[in-house]
Structures are given as C-alpha cells and as structure tokens.
C-alpha cells in the first residue's frame, strides 16, 4: 500500500537513470544513512562499534571488492585477503616513509598499490578460467603473505612482520574514539559503495557482466577482454586494498601478514555467497551475517548446552553450523540474502491486493 511507484513519473533522463527509481526507496536510503551515520554512533556503546559495526563495514567493503570480480566479472578469486594485506601494508609504508602524508591520500595510494598487484595476478585470467583460475589466485594468497613476512622492509624491520597503525589524522583532527573511527569508516564505505553501484550500472559494469555470462560472445561483439578483465581485477583489488587499510587503521590497529590468511579469503567468499553474488546490497548483508554469526553462536551455544562442553565443543559446533548454513543457503537460495530482499520488495509492491 505504501510501497509502490504509482503516480511517480520519470520526466527527464536524469530521473530515469536514478539508482532508486521509487521515492520510498530514496527516503528509506536516507533514513538508513542517518540511522547508521548519526544515530548509531550516538546511541550505541563502544563494544558494538568496535566489535561489530566497524568490522561489518570493513568486511562489506572487501566483499564488495570480491563481488565486483566474482559476481559481476565472473572471475572466481580465493586471494582477496592477500589484497587486503597489500592495502594494509602499503598504507602503513606510505604513512611511515613519507612525511606529512595525509591519511586519505595514503588510503587511495594503498588502494592503487593493491590494484597494481591485482593486475599482475589477474594476468593469468586472460589465458585460464574457472577452477584453474581460482587455484591460480591461491598463488597470490600464499606468495603475498610470504613476501610480507620474508622481507622486513615492508614491516619496517619489526619481528614477524607485525605493524602498528599510526594515528589517523585528517585536517588536524585525530580519530581516536571508536565513534569517530566508525563515522570515518562509514563515510568511506558509503562513498565507495555508491561508486561501485554506479560503476556496475554503467558501461563498465555491463562489459563485466557480458564477460561473466560468456566471454567468447562478449569478445565477438566487441568488448576488449583483456581490458575488461584486468579492470575488474584492478577495481576489485582496489576495494580490497582500501578495506585492508581500514582494517589496520580503524579496526584492529596492529596487523600481521599471517592475519590475512586463506581463512579470511574464504570468509569473504562466504559473505558474497550468503549475501548474494552479483549484488552490492548483498555484500553488506553477507558481511553482517558472517560477522554476527560467530558472535551469536558464542553467546547462544553455551547458554543452550551449558559450559560443561568446553570451548572445543563450541568451536567445532561453530564449524558445523557454518558449513551447514552455507550448504543450506546454496540449496535454498543460491542468489543469497539480496534475492530474498528483492522478493520481499516485489511482494510489497502488490501488497495488500495481489491481483
């Protein structure tokens, strides 16, 4: 009744090309922005910001990066965590080695470094595809982490590659409190998500999707495969790199290369599976789900079964639930949470008179 487009006319091309064609969506979007941008940091406590909201945002960004590569351009990657590592360590080195480097510039440079590395490891995609490519991206995962540990220059000669992020200062204001860090992360993530949304709606995104659906056909009708695929790798790595830098600077503070291991790559992959492959919204839903699930299980499992079973039981139970849920999701809704949201919207448009 409330959610329908009746009476909303598109009178100009600009209106036709809007991200949210329905007014209710636009209002909903701004309400969401206000809630998460203003109300949440004012109302929630430090635990929520530090342990839940900031990681959800950062992983959303990483998932967004992988989604661009896997969901839109169709190139499966198992090395997203490595590109996060590149971003984190690049940002650290830019801040460390260049005097007076502004944080935001370092962030962009970190993203660009990561993009460059991404292009290098994306080169094989021109020759190989499918599972062969997925395995090839594992090379990136192992090589990058090894290189960051092995060459002490990257971590400024600290032992075993552990680095501590410098203070984040923008225009003389130092982001120290969790609220400030949250707002900063939120703004960056929101901006980049908007950028991604527009990218996938434009010719770039259409080229990616054409390559995803059938690369030979896309090539035949005139898309340049090399450019399209490498651009997807570059943009995806850029997003992962920025996510990695944020991970170091606004979330953890102290990072080591081993933290960006294969497990994290898989986690990011799960986020896009559960959230929805080929959906910007899905990246956020998936990240929220994967970050919240272990926290939820940590609290619920001992409450259900008591403490007698011990920590080992809880962690194994988590593994089982995790694996089971992934299989369940793939069977029940291969298009993820984003698809459920889509279906809900379609239903809502007709509600309460479906005929």
């Amino acid at each position: 009744m409330l959610y329908r487009e009746a009476g909303q006319f598109k009178a100009s091309y600009a209106e036709d090309a809007r991200i949210f064609p329905i007014r209710q969506d636009r209002i909903g979007f701004w309400v969401l922005m206000l809630v998460f941008g203003v109300a949440v940091p004012l109302l929630t406590n430090e635990y929520w910001l530090k342990a839940i909201l900031i990681p959800v945002l950062i992983f959303s960004l990483a998932a967004l990066g992988l989604n661009i590569l896997t969901g839109y351009a169709g190139q499966l990657s198992l090395g997203s965590a490595a590109f996060m590592a590149v971003g984190a360590f690049a940002a650290y080195n830019f801040m460390l080695r260049i005097d007076g480097m502004p944080f935001l510039v370092a962030l962009v440079l970190a993203g660009l470094t990561s993009a460059a590395v991404g292009i290098v490891f994306g080169l094989p995609s021109l020759r190989i595809k499918g599972f062969y490519l997925a395995v090839a991206t594992l090379a990136a995962q192992f090589f990058i982490v090894w290189a960051l540990v092995k060459f002490p220059w990257f971590s400024n000669n600290s032992s075993s590659g552990v680095v501590t992020a410098q203070a984040v200062t923008i225009l003389g204001y130092t982001f120290e409190s969790p609220e400030a860090k949250y707002v900063l992360t939120f703004l960056i993530v929101a901006f980049m998500a908007l950028l991604a949304k527009n990218m996938v709606r434009s010719s770039t995104g259409r080229a990616w999707m054409a390559v995803r659906d059938m690369d030979v056909a896309a090539q035949v009708i005139g898309f340049r495969l090399m450019r399209t695929k490498l651009l997807a790798f570059a943009v995806s790595s850029f997003y992962c790199g920025v996510a990695g830098a944020l991970y170091a600077y606004t979330y953890i503070g102290t990072v080591e290369p081993e933290g960006f291991n294969l497990d994290l790559s898989f986690k990011i992959l799960f986020m896009i599976i559960i959230g929805g492959v080929g959906s910007i919204m899905g990246s956020f839903l998936g990240a929220a789900f994967i970050v919240l699930l272990p926290i939820f299980l940590d609290n619920v499992v001992p409450a259900l079964f008591g403490d007698a079973l011990g920590a080992g039981f809880v962690s194994n139970f988590q593994l089982i639930i995790f694996g089971g849920l992934i299989i369940f999701f793939l069977i029940v809704e291969p298009h993820g949470l984003a698809r459920l949201w889509q279906i809900a919207k379609e239903k809502l448009r007709l509600w309460p008179f479906p005929h």
Binding site: L76, P124, R127, I128, G130, F131, Y132, A134, V135, A136, L138, A139, F142, F143, W146, V149, K150, F151, M214, D215, V216, A217, V220, L262, F266, L269, F270, I273, G312, F313, N316, F317, Q318, L319, I320, I321, F322, G323, G324, L325, I326, I327, L330, I331, P334
Partner: protein, 308 residues
Amino acid sequence: MQFFIEVLIGGLLSGVMYALVALGFVLIYKASGVFNFAQGAMVFFAALTFVGFQEVLPGWLGLEAGSNMVFWLAFLLAFIAMIVLGIATERIVLRPLVNQPHITLFMATIGLTYLVEGIAQMVWGANVRGLDLGIVDEPIAWLMDNYEIGVSKFDLFAAGVAASLVALLAILFQYTKVGRALRAVADDHQAALSIGIPLQTIWRVVWAVAGFVALVAGMIWGARNGVQFALTFTALKALPVLILGGFTSVPGAIVGGLIIGASEKLAEVYVGPMVGGGIEGWFPYMLALAFLLVRPEGLFGEKHIDRV
C-alpha cells in the same frame, strides 16, 4: 651430485603423497564435474576415524590393542564411515544442487569442508594422535652404504601403496561394469542417463571410492606427520598438482604430483637460500601458474573448446 639425487628422490616420493590426495579430486571431478574442495577434510576425517576406531575397538571388543585384527577392523569401519559420508554427501548436498552452476557446487563443497572438519573433531576430539603403520621412517641401509644416498623406507612404502592404488583404480575403471559406467558418466552425463546408467548410484560409488582414496592418503599422511588438523591443508598442496596434471586425468595427478614434489624440494634447496627460504608454500602454485600460461588445460587435461 649425490645431494642432488637425494633431494630429487625425496621430492619425487613426497610428490607421490600429494598425488594420492589429488587422485581423490580427479575421481570426483571426472564423474560429477564437482570440484570437491572437501577432499582435504575427507582425508582428515578418514585418518581420524581410523585412529579413533583403533583406540576404542580394543576396549569394546576385548581385543589386544595394536593387533592385526584391530588394524583391519578399524580400516574396515573407517572405510564404511567414508562410504556413509559419500552417500550422505550425494543425498544431502549434491542432489538438491543438480543443474546448478559449477561454481555453486564448488562453494557447497567448501561448506562441506567446514561441516566434515567440525563433525570429525566433535566425534573424535581435536588432539594430535600418532598413527603407526609399522614402517620406520629411516634411510634404506643398502642404498646408504653403497651409494650414500638417503632414501626413506617409509617414502618408498608410500610410493608402493600409491602405485598399487593407481593400478587398482585402473582395473576398476577399465575392466568392471561399474568402471565402464563411471567412464560413460565422466564422458557425458546425458548420454549416460539415456542409456540407462543410474547417475545417482554412480555418484555414490565415486564418492565412496574417493573416500577410500582419502582413507589411504590419510593413513599415510597421518603416519608421517601425525593425525592432526593440519592434514586438511594437504588438500591445498594437491591443488597445484591438479592444475599441472589436468583436472580430469588420473595419470595427470600422478605425474603432476611427481613434478610438484621434485621441483618444490629442489627449489627450496637451491633457490630458497637466495630469497630467504620458506618458498615451498607458494612455489608449486607459481610453477603451476607459469605452466598454465603455456598449456591452459594442464598436462593431460581435456582441451576446452568454447562454443558461442
């Protein structure tokens, strides 16, 4: 030179162990087109089940611990567990996902990995156990005395097991009715269905066979490094073997395993010191990657032709 040969042989023999794990991947990929990421977890599950039964059986049946009887009974029970796991996988995971894109199935097997790891540790506990096959890991005296080349008895034994396993699989594939059906399914699902080969039965058989391979691989790896969670990472070592040999070829898995094993050890010894060591972790992938640039379908893989 002696040193070179020693490293080479050691590498080749460790390559055999990779090949054992890679075999399980190839079997399932050939028959069902599923890239089964859970193979490593299955190796872990199989080894843990075997050791677990070995521990509890003497108590249950009043047998003498460590006797042959216990060994074979545990082996049999672990094999049955793997068959059950295979059938359950087919029923619960694969059947509802029929006709989904390959990538979805691949992701489902990643979920399966977590599930199997969790169940294995929940049932048998997470502590590291030893597994004794009765073969000592020491150099063969005769070779050591005459040529001063150290070749581990255990490695040689593993190679023997792998060779007989491959022979067994070859016989199964070439000379039995099930084998013919398996090859037909591997060739073309629809054609196989239309001449009356029950696809789902074949899948169950394949998963059971892959479970058997995982059990053998798990026992050998377990005897080498102890039965522990790290066994699941053997699957990752098998991946470059696979891309080198081609996903669909049994000989490819063996040859790929040998190449990866040998080159990885040689690289670690001769190139490693130049860059600070520890390159074993990524060298196989880089090698496989470089190789793929020349031959995208691997050594023995089927050439892929795209039709628009």
